[in-house]
């Protein structure tokens, strides 16, 4: 499940329709319309009552949904002996903020976080570079065999990462890459998914712009760097976010290819092994789990406006 995020699931050719990829402008207008309706349409009394109930329902659902995380957060601040108390409590006899600090001295937790950041950032950069370039070639340039090669690309989207982890491990052996950063970064950075996404995005840019640049004597490289990329910021951002999440949360592949956890372990690996060696320390496990949620949650909050858009663009994501 984890590594599959990067390979991102089969989106066969037909799916372009299923994903419904309307030009960004049209979608935006649709949203405005809706907001207008929300703002101006007069509401009848039963409608108002219903709306109140809708709010109550949604907020109750949200509270239930969030309960495990809230309870985990409070558990992270309990003394360990009071984690399982009968009856359960939210706040124990004392509030131990220090658990969040103790986590870092119990295992090489800081190394795991550092590795995760490094691998996720480096991997995202590779994916962005490779995908935008290839997307440009498929979406904006004309060359012989383009469509055939593109179909080949799309076909690889069908292959789940779980199917190729075993042979991928052998390939890593051949390269002498077992237990290296390269092995964490590259193998799943060349999936067709990013290319597919970028191609779709680039095709939405009016060709006239490019033609104008061509007339001025700009070659494909300049056009790519100066016209296409600047116009595709949001698409690139979306790909970047989801690629980052994919790398950040990836578990199966790092589990296989990392040997020396203290050197190359990423956060999910660290977290899993951490739970083994802190068997009884639920307080620390919860503190570690909460800490591991922070970076991605911040990322999501910062980019929440793009989330719906990104999802609707391709339905890719971190799972």
């Amino acid at each position: 499940m984890s590594t599959s995020t990067i390979t991102a699931p089969a989106a066969p050719a037909d799916d372009t329709r299923a994903v419904t990829m309307p030009p960004a402008r049209k979608r935006r207008r649709g949203k405005e319309d809706q907001e207008k309706v929300a703002g101006h349409a007069p509401m009848t009394r039963p409608e108002k009552v219903r709306l109140v109930f809708a709010h109550i329902g949604v907020y109750i659902a949200a509270a239930i949904f969030l309960a495990p995380l809230v309870y985990a957060f409070f558990s992270a601040m309990k003394p360990n002996q009071e984690i399982f108390s009968m009856p359960p409590t939210l706040i124990a006899s004392e509030v131990r903020w220090t658990n969040f600090i103790d986590v870092f001295s119990y295992g090489p937790f800081l190394t795991y976080i550092g590795n995760s950041f490094f691998v996720a950032i480096a991997g995202t950069l590779v994916v962005l570079a490779v995908s935008t370039m290839a997307g440009y070639a498929f979406g904006r340039l004309r060359w012989k065999g383009r469509d055939a090669v593109f179909v080949l690309f799309l076909a690889t989207l069908m292959v789940p990462a779980e199917v190729i982890v075993i042979p991928m491990f052998i390939v890593m052996q051949w390269f002498g890459w077992v237990d290296t950063y390269q092995a964490l970064i590259f193998p799943f950075a060349f999936t067709a998914f990013g290319t597919f996404l970028m191609r779709q995005f680039f095709r939405g840019i009016p060709f006239e712009l490019e033609e104008a640049a061509r007339v001025d004597g700009a070659g494909p490289i300049r056009t790519f760097l100066q016209i296409i990329l600047p116009l595709s910021k949001s698409g690139v951002a979306v790909l970047a976010v989801f690629t980052f999440l994919g790398f950040w949360n990836s578990y199966l592949w790092p589990l296989i290819v990392t040997v020396d956890y203290a050197a190359h372990g990423t956060l999910p690996i660290g977290l899993a092994s951490f739970s083994g060696l802190t068997g009884t320390r639920w307080d620390l496990q919860m503190a570690a789990a909460i800490i591991s949620m922070i970076p991605t949650t911040v990322l999501v909050i910062a980019l929440q406006k793009h989330l719906v858009k990104g999802i609707s663009m391709a339905g890719l994501g971190g799972r």
């Binding site: 329709r17 994903v19 419904t20 949604v58 190729i164 949650t297």
Partner: protein
């Protein structure tokens, strides 16, 4: 796929464009060849070998496949578990997230914040989610604790009971993936042509009827898309059982990917693992194809 809207250009230019295109596409092609085509080909080959992690590899023909189907006590249960998981998880996840997306309509205050909230488990490392749930589901944990304190009912030992363990893996997964499908549906709902919705409303369609007759059919492409994606990810479930139940009790929650992992990296039989992976792949393709075949019956495209 292609729409050749370009005006025809002179040959030399086209040639140079071809060359440059090759430059643009070659990193992706090289990477794909190395990290997808080679492993895929290799996994076919490995499936026909007795391929220990260390030592001599020997060609065994279809022995690995035969062994899986006839002589591997965990293989059939692993397949069964994977299907049970997918059959429970996919419909529950799709229906619940669709309902959630419907409820989070534009008149709900703070829906941006709520969306982020439902999305947190999606972007959190799965391992962290599992740890939280494992704590809740301990016999002395919150769930049983509340049940005993409030209702005086002692709940089963969730993760150690064959049926309950699978239910809990499903439940935890639904919770984790809810926000993702919700966003897919939210995006689809926002794109509903307002005219159609208004027209239906004027015709007197309200509430459930409106949802069932108008909204669901109009968003069926995204429902289809979400179902396929969710199904594919369900077939590949690994972390939740691995960490939450350890595949147990017995092998009651061990899915096929965990089986592959164990064969390959615990029992050092990479050939057997590769063969099992191919069976999983074949199943995923067959199921995806089947869903595409069935989509004509219920998915409505605007075009």
């Amino acid at each position: 796929m292609s729409n050749g809207t370009h005006t025809p250009r002179r040959g030399a230019l086209a040639k140079s464009e071809s060359r440059q295109a090759l430059g643009f596409v070659s990193p992706a092609l090289a990477g794909l060849a190395l990290f997808t085509f080679v492993p895929v080909a290799l996994s076919i080959v490995m499936g026909f070998f007795d391929w220990p992690t260390v030592g001599e590899k020997t060609f065994v023909g279809f022995d690995n496949y035969v062994k899986l189907f006839t002589d591997s006590p965990d293989f059939w249960p692993a397949l069964r578990n994977t299907f049970v998981f997918a059959l429970l998880y996919v419909p529950i996840s799709v229906v619940m997230s669709y309902l959630l997306a419907l409820s989070l309509h534009s008149r709900i205050r703070g829906r941006g914040a709520l969306r982020v909230l439902f999305f947190i488990p999606v972007v959190t490392p799965m391992v962290a989610n599992v740890l939280v749930w494992k704590m809740l589901l301990q016999p002395q944990g919150l769930v049983n604790g509340l049940s005993q304190t409030w209702f005086g009912i002692e709940l089963p030992n969730f993760l150690a009971d064959p049926q309950w363990a699978m239910m809990m893996v499903v439940m935890m997964s639904v919770w984790q993936g809810l926000g993702y499908n919700m966003l897919i549906f939210s995006a689809a709902l926002e794109q509903l042509p307002e005219s159609v919705v208004e027209a239906a409303r004027i015709d007197g369609a309200t509430g459930l009827r409106m949802t069932w007759k108008i909204t669901v059919p109009l968003t069926s492409p995204s429902i289809f898309f979400a179902s396929i994606m969710t199904m594919i990810s369900a077939m590949q479930v690994f972390v939740q059982p691995q960490m939450l139940t350890g595949g147990g009790p017995g092998n009651a929650t061990q899915p096929i990917v965990q089986f592959i992992y164990n064969q390959g990296f615990k029992f050092q039989e990479l050939g057997l693992a590769a063969a099992a992976a191919w069976i999983l792949f074949a199943i995923i393709i067959a199921m995806t194809a089947a869903q595409f075949g069935a989509q004509k019956k219920w998915v409505h495209y605007e075009h």
